[in-house]
Amino acid sequence: MEKDRLIAIIEALIFASDRPLKTKYIEQVLSIVDLGDITIDGLMEALRTRYGTDSAGIELVEVAEGWQFRTRPQLSDWVKRLNIVKPAKLSMPAVETLSIVAYRQPVTHAEIDYVRGVDSGGVIKTLLDRRLIKIVGKKELPGRPLVYGTTQEFLEVFGLKDISALPSLQDIKQIGSAEEELERDQAELPLAANKPGEGPDDEE
């Protein structure tokens, strides 16, 4: 096989690997190829040179556990700017809390805690700060606790015409067979379908 093609394969392997790639794995993958007098070390060196120029935004580094591509440290300030301009994902506790407010509004802090089984004070504060929920009044209960509801902003962010446009639990039951729904005892639902560590991006 040509040297260029071998380098391309190694480049793809390191890029796609979910952890630094040990040389021995590269050797294993290429074990079905007759390398002739080409050595893996020689190929690694050629690849490293290709990414070694100053005009590259990425570099190939050999860390203790193997080979890995990284953005060049000199460019880190630029990469950090991405966090400022790009939207972030809501955390799982925030999505949970927001869903309780959306579906059960008006709802008190205590009711949210009760449903989630944990204290939600911090999350409620975050959601208030982001103007996704608001205080809509007080409940006629001892201590007159505050009750929360969703905001206009909430409707806009989630593209809802009004609050009745929220899909209902009944709706979700139409989907998939009834038995499947009953069987599903574990709470791990599709939110987790996203890869861990998946970064922020928006869906317009």
Binding site: Q68, P87, E96, F158, D185, A187
Partner: protein, 236 residues
């Protein structure tokens, strides 16, 4: 004939898939389907599946009935001599088949694209960049909310769900609602009495309310066929 089928036995995705296959296999013109022939072939296939104990979706039988109906309609001579205006009984089926075929082809085309995680891969390692700025925007959709809420509800089974649902409506209130509805319409179907997003508790309360009204002889009810709608009437 049956020998051929034995070799080619495929599990079809649905009755339309099967029909398209039969049309192609027999070199038929989809715009002029010989309905008797295709019906016979279709039924042979269903019969074979039965022999093999393959469970077929009920939709296969629905289309079988449709084929037989079309066949019957084509046998009846048009009484009114308006051939030009008479619609070909096969038209709807043909259109459905063409439509299905179009999407089936679209699916094949879609499937042949370079698919992420099948043909091509993104970077495997997540790069952690310190985020010190507060993110100004949100990436989640309505489905995230629904799913989160559903799993919360699943976790909080039994008692808790009942506790939250009970306060929505009482039996007394339900009785008033029902009497009001029947007072206007004179008769109503049971399932129309349920609120739009009804819960199990709503069903229970509605049934309790109806039982109470029947006991008080303020209503009578009947069901005209098994599993048909249950009708409620004002008692004269």
């Amino acid at each position: 004939m049956e020998e051929n089928y034995r070799v080619k036995l495929e599990i079809f995705e649905g009755p339309l898939d099967l029909l398209l296959f039969l049309i192609k296999r027999n070199e038929l013109d989809i715009y002029d389907i010989p309905i008797s022939f295709i019906t016979e072939q279709y039924l042979v296939y269903l019969g074979m599946m039965q022999v093999l104990n393959v469970e077929l979706a009920s939709e296969f039988l629905v289309i079988a009935a449709t084929l037989l109906e079309i066949k019957a309609r084509m046998l009846i001579p048009t009484l009114v001599e308006k051939e030009d205006e008479a619609e070909d009984p096969r038209l709807e089926l043909t259109n459905r088949l063409l439509e299905y075929q179009r999407f089936k082809n679209a699916a094949i085309q879609l499937n042949s694209r370079d698919m992420l995680y099948r043909d091509t891969f993104t970077r495997g390692i997540h790069e952690d960049v310190d985020a010190d700025a507060a993110p100004p925007n949100i990436d989640a959709d309505v489905y995230d909310l629904l799913v989160a809420f559903k799993s919360l509800m699943d976790r909080a089974r039994g008692e808790k769900i009942a506790y939250m649902a009970v306060e929505r409506i009482s039996v007394a209130q339900r009785i008033n609602d029902i009497m009001e509805r029947i007072g206007i319409a004179k008769s109503v179907a049971f399932d129309t009495l349920l609120p739009r997003d009804y819960t199990r508790m709503d069903i229970v309360i509605t049934i309790l309310a109806i039982l109470e009204l029947l006991r008080l002889r303020m209503l009578r009810c009947d069901q005209r066929e098994p599993f048909g709608p249950i009708w409620l009437y004002m008692q004269e």
